[in-house]
Symmetry: C2
Subunit: 206 residues, 2 copies
């Protein structure tokens, strides 16, 4: 009889991707997860876009120059990167490796295209798709971002429609309904708890 | 764009098997789940063994005669059945079909052998293995059952050891630690919630 009966929930660190269409509320959901002080490592993305008001370097993003970004690509130091809305963003490989090595679950927020890339590079990643409750909710949320030009808004809506169609590439779908942020976070926590109860854990190799 | 965005958690009814070695506390865990009044259908097993003190026909088991049991086998009315400790027990097919058709998740308590049979007959079932925190806990729990003869106890311990080795045939493992019943039930509820968040649900065909 093995002596490791009590090793459940198992401690294999997970790579968890939170994705979904533009405007679904990925940032808000992650913010709430951080506030609950769960022992996760939240990946900090590197980006070439300028900070929005209130965003802090090293906490919200690593704001780096295009030259620095190009150098990271050249040295293969990015786990995943993309060219989005005329800017670049990517995830430093070393950060993910170190967090997993320390035994913590790694949470990444990615757009749908980025999530597909992670699936290819790390098939054992847990892919969670955030969905809006309805198309009307999504359009309204996108419209409320005062940072958008009318043309930018149209592009985001068109992109979001296309992104919704890729839900079937994901493992889980969680509906992020208006006024139900806590329920969304609870559901994500339940998914992570269930994944830690798997007899055959999803062990990510990078 | 589809109009069914809000269909998550998806409503496909699940077939959930709670199993584990003799003495791990399957009955206690199911009893606590019933007390929490979740909208599950708890399968009532048919058995030929006599009722223990306090057990009620139709609630804890359907206590039937060997003749009745033989007839159910002959008419192929049993989903799963087994010969255990000189008695027979089995699950009426019609009960499971009706519960799933009504849209409820079906919860079955089965021994490890029975769970393996369900995996074969319904590969989409969700198999949860309850594990004791340690071998000492398991032996103590088995010893506390005053209904056992010394020989019966030895047999149960030997069986439990062999059953522990079959954990790897299950989807999930939940450790049912002494004094931590609520945590066990919470973990099972999290697994069920996660399964309802799957983009590709486990749809059981019977």
């Amino acid at each position: 009889m093995a002596n490791d009966w009590s090793d459940y929930p198992q401690q294999t660190p997970l790579l968890i991707v939170i994705s979904g269409p533009s405007g679904v509320g990925k940032d808000t959901v992650l913010q709430r997860m951080k506030e609950r002080r769960m022992p996760f490592h939240f990946v900090v993305t590197a980006t070439t876009r300028p900070p929005r008001p209130g965003e802090v370097h090293g906490r919200d993003y690593f704001f780096i120059s295009r030259d620095e970004f190009a150098e990271m690509i050249e040295k293969d130091e990015l786990f995943e990167w993309a060219h989005v809305y005329n800017d670049y963003k990517g995830i430093p490989k070393q950060q993910v490796r170190e967090a997993l090595a320390s035994g913590r679950d790694v949470i990444m927020r990615l757009d749908v295209q980025g999530a597909a890339t992670v699936r290819r590079l790390a098939p054992e990643a847990v892919l969670i798709f955030l969905s809006p409750g309805s198309e009307a909710e999504l359009v309204r949320r996108l419209s409320e971002r005062k940072t958008e030009t009318p043309e930018g808004l149209k592009l985001r809506i068109a992109t979001a429609r296309r992104e919704m169609e890729r839900m079937n590439e994901f493992d889980y779908c969680v509906v992020n309904r208006d006024m139900a942020l806590e329920a969304t976070v609870d559901q994500i926590i339940a998914i992570i708890a269930a994944e830690h109860s798997r007899v055959h854990p999803r062990r990510v190799k990078l």
